[in-house]
Structures are given as C-alpha cells and as structure tokens.
C-alpha cells in the first residue's frame, strides 16, 4: 500500500515538474516587422470596464508603438474608444464609455483637448450622466458627434468647444453629411429587441432635425458616396439574414432602395467604391466584397484574392491616398487582434500582429 502511494506521489510530482517548464512560454511578440511607405494610426477598443483602449502609431519602419497615446500623454485613452477620424492635422477620437472626445495632434501625439460629454443633471448623484459618444463626422468648421443618450453634439473645430446638442432618435450610431444635411442612424440598439428604425435628417444651417426617414430596424453605419447619395446598413436582430444595405435619396430624403440580396454587417465608402462585409458570428463565415455605387453593382464578389483568412472581421478602413484596405481581425475579442493591410487588388501586403485588443479602425493622414 505504502509503495504504491509513493509511486502515485512520484507520478504527480513528475507531472508538476513537467508542467513548470510550460510557465512563461506565452506572450511571444512578433519579431520581424513589415515595412510600409506611409505611417498609420490604429485605434483599439480594448474591453468594456478595463480602461484599456489604445491608439497605436506605426511609422511604417520600426516596431509599432502600440500604446502611443498613453506614452505621449502619461494617461490612457479610457474605456472603449469607438471612432477615430483625421481632420486637418488633428485626430479626433471618440471614447464611448469614458464619454470623452480626445483631440490629438497627429504629429506629436499630444492631446490638444479632452472634451467631456455629460449631461448637466446627474439625477441627484455626483457628476452628470454620461452621454456616451459613438461616431464623429465633419462638415466645414464643425464636427458632429452621435451620442447614445439620443443626441448629436456639435463641436467647433476652431475653439474645440461643444456649441450645441440636438435631440435625435434612440442610440444613434453612424452619421454622414451630404448636400448640407447630416444623416444619423437611430439604432435603438441598447433597447434590444425594441430597436429604432429611423434616420434623422438634420439641417446643418439651422442645426435642427427636419425629418426622420424610416428604414429597416437597427440601422448602423452611414456613408455618403461622391454623388451625394447616403447609404445605411441595418443589422436587424443580429441574424445574418437581417443585415441589409439601403440607399437614401438625399433630394427627397426618402428611402430609395433596399438591397435585399446583400448581407452587410459593416461597410465603408471611398468615392464611388464601397467595401462591404458580411460575417456570421456563429459559423465564423465572412465575405468581403466590393461595389460600384454609381452603377449599383458588385464589382468583386470576393475582395481577398490570395486566400488570406480573417477569423473575426471587426473593422474596415481605407487609405484614401493609395486605396489600401485595412481589415481588423479581433479573434475572440479577448485576445489581441491584428491589422491586415491589403492592396486594392486584394492581396495581403502585411500583417500587424497583436497590435491591440479589438482593433477597429486605421487612419492614414495626408502625407
């Protein structure tokens, strides 16, 4: 009895020692970095409640500075940065849960101003309630920021001060300007399954809402093409068959067309070319395709031509200067994601591995 117990003990201890060798094997970094002929910025959302959103900067040559904003400012971006746009020589970052807009000098990475977005009334508690900004769009000397509290905030880009709030529908997401009007997608997404299904049309001269256009439930991103048409995708109740793309006639401000045969979870438009993708969360099936918005037709059924695999597409960005396409792969949202850069022909140029947690956008500034 005694002997056998010793043997068992020995086996377990052996097991332990062999296990020890495995310690610290994780967290291997990419050793060789690719090269690129232009610098870029990558926004990573991090994860809710972890204050670990990051802005990475890559000069195209050396190792990317993954936590660039924090290194330059001595503080983190906060909880869930959701959108980034370059305007002039500044970057505008929209931090959703921290409820801030961060205006950053694109060269130095220094924050020029941190703009809080809170209500006046705190319901009897300390501080006002968070407005939770989501997306930003620009027109002339103003920036417009959709906020989950059902408003659009207007920011003066010269003084960097908020100079107005306008009430729109529930939980507005994407927004875009066409023909002097701002189109805001009212998703109602936080009140699932009671989604909103409207697009607010805002006259920018008077900063008033002039109309709401009914679209399919849970509208999400809004983009304009170079003819001044507005496109919006609706995500329904997040079943792949619900994802829709719709076109808005911006003269009559009516729904002009619903692309029933396309499943569009996310998209972006540059000029008259749209890059769109469909992704089924349960089967992990994804497809990225390209459309000509003027002709209303798909010009490439499969954008990726070299067989590169995207596990979980999480963001789609373009380099407006050379047409490169960036796709963010978020894996399971709990592991650091990658940025894949494709040529306009759909061939993988390089991969920025482990750039940050939940990368969602790449920005390239005017060289």
């Amino acid at each position: 009895m005694k002997k056998s117990t010793h043997i068992v003990l020995g086996i377990i201890l052996l097991h332990l020692f062999s296990a020890c060798e495995l310690i610290n094997q994780g967290g291997k970094e990419q050793e060789e970095w690719p090269q690129s002929d232009y610098p870029l910025y990558v926004l990573c959302e991090g994860l809710f409640n972890l204050n670990n959103g990051t802005l990475a900067y890559w000069d195209g040559l050396d190792e990317p500075e993954k936590d660039w904003f924090r290194q330059k400012n001595g503080r983190g971006l906060g909880d869930t940065p959701n959108d980034i746009k370059a305007y002039g020589n500044k970057l505008y970052l929209v931090i959703n849960v921290s409820s801030q807009v961060e205006v950053v000098d694109a060269k130095s990475g220094k924050s020029l101003k941190q703009i809080p977005l809170f209500t006046e009334d705190g319901g009897g508690k300390e501080n006002g309630r968070a407005r939770q900004p989501r997306y930003i769009a620009f027109h002339q000397d103003k920036a417009y920021i959709s906020c989950y509290d059902g408003t659009v905030a207007r920011l003066d880009t010269a003084s960097l001060c908020i100079d107005g709030h306008l009430k729109v529908g529930r939980h507005p997401e994407g927004l875009a300007v066409a023909k002097g009007k701002l189109y805001v997608a009212n998703s109602g997404g936080l009140d699932n399954p009671n989604y909103d299904k409207t697009l607010s049309v805002i006259d920018l001269e008077s900063f008033t809402e002039i109309k709401r256009i009914e679209v399919a439930i849970n509208p999400y991103k809004v983009y304009a093409d170079s003819q001044g048409d507005i496109y919006v995708n609706s995500r329904g109740d997040y079943n792949a068959e619900d994802y829709l793309l719709q076109r808005i006639d911006t003269d009559a401000d009516t729904l002009a067309k619903t692309f029933h045969d396309l499943q569009v979870l996310n998209f972006t438009i540059q000029g008259n070319t749209a890059y769109l993708y469909d992704f089924d969360f349960s089967s992990k099936y994804s497809k990225i395709f390209v459309m000509d918005m003027e002709k209303d037709e798909i010009i490439r059924e499969n954008f990726i031509t070299d067989g590169s695999i995207i596990n979980t597409p999480y963001g789609l960005s373009l380099n407006p200067f050379n047409g490169d396409v960036f796709i963010a792969d978020a894996y399971d949202y709990l592991q650091t994601g990658d940025i894949l850069c494709f040529s306009p022909e759909g061939e993988l140029k390089y991969r920025l591995k482990d750039i940050g947690l939940n990368p969602n956008a790449v920005v390239v500034v005017d060289p």
């Binding site: 117990t5 097991h15 967290g27 983190g76 006002g128 699932n192 349960s282 592991q335």
Partner: protein
C-alpha cells in the same frame, strides 16, 4: 463485547468532540454543547464513523484535504465578513469586487466558483440563476466554524447535494450554549469603523424545557463605503488621481430564529428561519474620466429549513431535511441609456423546494454505508426581460457512499447520480441532464505516528445556470454540464512535542485538475450579444501546503502560528492553433501562480494580539499572458487587539482592528479597488 463497545463509543465521543472544538483537542474544554440534557447520546451516534486517537486532528486525518476555521481562529483573523475569512484557506481564490457590497465568490483550486458548493448548517444554499453563491452577504457574527473540503466532506452521512460539487464550504452557525444552572443567554454587540460602518447585533438563547431550546439573532450593517483609492491612468510614472469610491452605500439586515428540539432520547430536530434584506448601491468598475453611476441592487432572501435526525438503533440512523427558499432581487439603473425613460429595472424571483432523506447503516464498527437522497424544485421568474423562459428545474440526486476506517486506514468511496429535467413557459427548455459522479479517497497511516499518506479522486460537474441557459440572447439551451476531474495526493503530519509545544501540523498536497466543456461567454451575434458556449479546457497543476503550530510558554500565555502556501498553474488548453491559439498554454484569468496567507496570535492575560496576512502574486485580467493584461500582486496585513473585560457578573469583550495596515492600494479584480487602511472597533457583552 461490552468492553469493545465501550471503547468504540469512547472513540466516537472523542470524534464528536473534535467537531465542536478548535483544531486541537483539549478535552477539558467541553463548553460547546447543545442541550445539556443527554448530550452525549446524540452526538455520539449520529456520526458515520469517527475513530480518533488521543492526539489527532481532522485536517491531518482526513483522506481528502479538509480545512477548518473555528471560532477562536476566526477571532484571530481580523475579519468581519465570511468572505475575508475564506481567503485564509489554502488553494482558494475569492473573487472580490471590493467594499462591503461587492460580489464575492469562492473558487477552489482554479475550478471556478460554480464548482464550489456552499452549505449553511449542512443544507446547501442554491442560486440556480447564477449557479454561484455570493458569500458577501454572510457575516461571521453568527458563525461557529467554517469548513472547506476539497472533493467532498469526510462525512458520508450528509445530503446528496453536499456531495455534488467539486468542493464544499460549510458554514456552521452557533448553537445554544448555556452555562450550568442558567436557562437563557443574551449577547449584544456594536461595531463601528471607517467609511461609516455601523454594525449592531444581538443574540438571545432560551431554554424552553428539558427538550426544547430557542435562539434568535440578528444584525444590521450600514456603510457609506466611500473609501479613498488611487486611480492610475496608465503604467508606473503616468498620471494618478486620488479619488473616492462612489455609489457604494450598503445597508443590510439579517434575522435568524432557530428551534432546537430533542423529542426523544436518540433524535434531534432543528428548524431555522432565515431572513436577509439588503440595499446596495452598485459601484461599477472605476471608469477613466467618467465617475457617474446610479445602479443599485435590492435583495430579499428568506428560507426555512428543518432537519431531523434519529439513531434508530446501533446499526441504523436516519436524517431528513426540508427547505423552502424564496429570493427576490431587483436591479435598477436610473442612468441607463437603454430605454427611453432612462430607467432600467429588472426583478428576478427564485423559489426552491428541497427535501433530503439519508439513511446510514453501520455494518461493522469500522464500516458504514450511507444512502443519501435529495429532491429539489427550483423556479425563476423575471420582470423586465420580455419573453423570459420562466424555467422550472426538477432535480433528483441520489448517492451511495461507503466509509471504512480503522486506526491505520480510512477509505471512502461514493457514487452520486443526478437527474435533472427542466420545463419552461416560453421557448425551448434545456435538455435533460443525467450524470454520475464517482469519488474515492484513501488515507494510510504507515507507522504508529501521526503521519498519513492520502489521495483522492473525484469527477464532478456543474450544471448550466438559468442565466447560462435562458438569459435573453445570451442563454443557450444546448449547453452541456461543465466537467471537472480532480486528482490529489498528499501527506500530513502532526506532532505533540511537549507541553509547551502541544501541537504542530503540516499538510502537503499536490493535485491535478482538469476542466472540460467549460461554459464560457463568447460573442455569437456581435460584440454586444454574447452567448454561452461549451468551449474550452483548462489543465490545473497545483500544490497546497499548510503549517500550524502552537506554543504555550507559560500558564495564561499562548502563541498560535499558521501559514499556508498555494501554487497553481491553470493553463488554457482549448485550441493550440486558430481562433483561440493566442491563449493556449497561458495561465487563465485571475489565477495567481503563487498565493498564501499567514496568521500569528499571541494570547496573554492582558489580551490577545493578532496579526493576519494575505499575499497574492501577479495575475492576468484576461487569458492572454501579456504585460498589458498583468495585474500586480498584493499583500494585505491586518492587526487586532482583543480584551475580555469582566463587567459585574457579565462577560464583555472589546476588539480593535487595523485593516490593510500598510495602506496598499490594490484590487483583486482590476478597476474594482479594495479599501486602504481602515479601522474597526467592536464591543460585545454577554448577559
């Protein structure tokens, strides 16, 4: 034969006394007893078997690791909440979201909180909604002892549910205890401390007749919880801010009444009424640049449980229990942007009907067999969740267990069967679950010395909770149970060196655990819509070491020292390549490789001085072991001074405590800061 029975009986008596006392047997101290009348007969027989030498400690003798904190140890730990006491057990991680009101759950040996059973006076607590017990609501005010068993308890004569989990925390409450010649006893206490802490409590015990006694106790706790903390906006050298926790007020009350009866010579009957109510503001994770929060949680929990046990004859014994429990929980968030009104409210109700019938057969003096049967009906309703399934779970559990014990060998084996069926009002019900859980343990004493070799094996599982199965789009009715395998080997040793060093013991256990079909939340529709899936495997290698010794340098002086150390390597083994490849071979989140605790207490005629320490190594907040996810380790030191002050003919006691002495700014869960240095004072008087 007569003599043999006497010896057997005497040994069992010793065994029974072991249960009622601190770890070390001191036969002179026999005050902790139930009713004075015929006290032996009951405690004598209702054990399965308990053969105990003159010098033996349960922790050492037990075939599966068992740890115990008795009243004296608990007092020396400088803890008020049960969760803080549990942190002193080896191999345990308490997920503590900070403050009095923060969620606190216990995970044993990296298996996850849902594999830990928690029982209150031998009857399991259940929360079918979340599948885990929030132990933040239990204070130590009414607690006689805490037991933590890996695998399962040494007692085979128990409920089937107590055998169903991978580990068991049993909370044993105080029983009436009358001094000779008195028929009642009263205790009043008042505690106060930092952050507006106020904690009055009372206890009344009354002997009603020779065969009946009654106790009533209650407490109230209030704290505004606005403790200061330092928020770091980045890494070392980056900006920091000195802030105060907000939205963290807690007020809670508990009332408990119990009737103890001994209707006949060989039976016992206890009926307990329990009511708990709390209002807690819910401090969220500290969010950079956004301090606003308004969410709160109201709880009402009531149960009545009745336990009956009877020694039918020398061979047979019987136990039965019935319980009804009703839970109400309301979550409210006025600042929620989710609805048009800016007001989000959910109400969850849970009910449980539970019954147990156990039969014990003492085949031989050394060999017993028990058959434990449980049945339960759990139901849940929700307001604010349109189309909620309103599930009802019917469970049947049956376990057959055998225990053999002589002076050199203890061997336990059991097999538990569980059948679960669910019905729902809306949508689809979960599949039926049928599971078998085998368990075996052995302890051998090779020489005539208090040195034991031990080993245990257990295969258990946890069922998906109602949240896992039915919560909105998160729930997944196709879930299978999550399986846990445990293998443990260890050695234990105890020695009585001399009168001034009466007891020293050491236990050392190495273990290998495995979790398969781990139930995890992953986004299935988009990042905002997560669903539960059976995905993932975790391999756990670990080592627990515990040491304890006592010195008695002179009469009236006593030094108690104990320490434990835990090594845990809990590695993700889900997928070597592909989607989950970046975390393969990495330590799972919130599991320190190294952790430990230590206690030192000095008892003198001038009072008792105690020091307690908890240490944890670095952890990772997510499964990927990279610098960005690393959360630094911490240590938490506390000291206390306690003095008995006789006042007229009453006993009274004053206790002063300094918690987190070094004012370490740390978090167990990232961005849920723990309080810094704080003070507590309490005064208790027994009438």
């Amino acid at each position: 034969m007569e003599k043999r029975r006497y010896i057997y009986g005497f040994r069992r008596l010793l065994g029974a006394l072991m249960l009622l006392m601190p770890s070390f047997v001191m036969l002179a101290d026999t005050t902790a007893s139930l009713l004075p009348a015929e006290k032996d007969s009951l405690h004598l027989h209702l054990k399965d078997i308990e053969i105990v030498e003159n010098f033996s400690i349960r922790e050492v003798r037990s075939a599966a690791p068992a740890q115990r904190l008795g009243k004296a140890e608990l007092e020396a730990l400088n803890v008020k909440n049960l969760s803080d006491a549990v942190k002193h057990f080896a191999g345990v991680v308490v997920k503590d979201y900070g403050g009095v009101g923060g969620l606190k759950t216990v995970s044993i040996r990296s298996l996850g909180a849902q594999h830990t059973g928690v029982s209150y006076d031998g009857i399991s607590l259940s929360d079918t909604q979340s599948g885990q017990i929030d132990i933040s609501r239990f204070s130590l005010d009414n607690v006689e002892a805490l037991h933590l068993a890996n695998g399962q308890s040494e007692q085979i004569f128990c409920t089937a549910r107590q055998m169903a989990s991978a580990g068991l925390l049993d909370i044993q409450t105080k029983a009436p205890n009358f001094e000779a010649g008195r028929r009642h006893r009263a205790e009043l206490s008042l505690g106060a401390g930092s952050f507006g802490l106020l904690n009055p409590a009372f206890r009344w015990e009354q002997q009603l007749s020779e065969r009946y006694a009654f106790s009533l106790n209650g407490e109230y706790t209030y704290t505004h919880g606005r403790y200061p903390y330092t928020l770091a906006y980045g890494a070392a050298g980056d900006s920091i801010a000195h802030k105060r926790r907000s939205n963290s007020q807690v007020s809670s009350g508990r009332l408990e009444a119990e009737v103890y009866a001994r209707p006949g010579k060989n039976d016992e009957w206890r009926t307990k009424f329990y009511y708990y109510q709390s209002y807690r503001e819910l401090p969220n994770a500290t969010t950079f640049y956004n301090d606003h929060q308004e969410a709160d949680l109201s709880d009402r929990q009531a149960f009545v449980q009745s336990k009956y046990s009877k020694d039918i004859n020398e061979t047979w014994a019987l136990k039965a229990a019935l319980k009804y429990q009703n839970n109400y929980q309301r979550y409210k968030d006025e600042a929620s942007l989710a609805t048009e009104l800016g007001h989000k409210e959910y109400i969850y109700r849970q009910q449980e009907w539970y019954g147990n019938l156990s039969l014990l057969c003492r085949l031989m003096p050394q060999w017993s067999i028990a058959l434990n049967n449980d049945a339960a009906i759990n139901s849940m309703q929700a307001e604010g969740l349109p189309g909620f399934a309103e599930p009802v779970r019917y469970s049947l559990l049956s376990a057959i267990a055998s225990k053999y014990q002589n002076n050199f060998l203890t061997a336990n084996a059991s097999l538990l069967g569980q059948w679960v069926k669910e019905k729902v009002q809306h949508g689809q019900a979960a599949q039926d679950f049928k599971q078998l859980s085998p368990y075996a343990s052995i302890s051998v004493k090779p020489w005539n010395e208090e040195f034991y070799l031990r080993a245990f094996f257990k295969n258990s599982f946890r069922l998906p909770s109602f949240n896992d199965l039915y919560y909105g789009s998160v729930g997944n009715t196709d879930l299978k149970p999550e399986k846990a395998w445990q293998y443990n080997v260890g050695l234990t040793w105890a020695k009585h060196f001399s009168d001034w060093m009466p007891s020293t013991y050491l236990t050392l256990d190495a273990y290998y655990n495995r979790i398969e079909d781990k139930i995890v939340a992953i986004p299935t529709k988009n990042l905002f819509v997560w669903s539960m899936m059976n995905l993932g495997r975790v391999d756990i290698h670990g080592l627990d070491a515990a040491f304890s010794t006592t010195f008695v340098p002179a009469a009236g002086y006593r030094i108690d020292m104990s320490a434990n150390y835990t090594f845990q390597q809990a590695l993700d083994r889900t997928q070597k390549e592909g989607l989950y490849g970046k975390v393969y071979g990495h330590q799972i989140a919130y599991t320190p490789r190294h952790s430990g605790s230590g206690q030192l207490s000095l008892s003198t005629p001038f009072g008792q001085l105690s020091y307690a320490l908890i240490v944890s190594g670095d952890r990772y907040v997510l499964g990927q072991n990279i610098e960005a996810n690393r959360l630094e380790g911490y240590s938490d030191h506390s000291i206390s001074y306690m003095k008995q002050i006789p006042w007229k003919h009453c006993q009274s006691r004053l206790k002063l405590e300094v918690l987190n002495l070094l004012n370490q700014n740390y978090a167990v869960i990232k961005y849920f800061p723990m309080p810094g240095r704080s003070f507590r004072m309490s005064y208790q008087i027994s009438l």
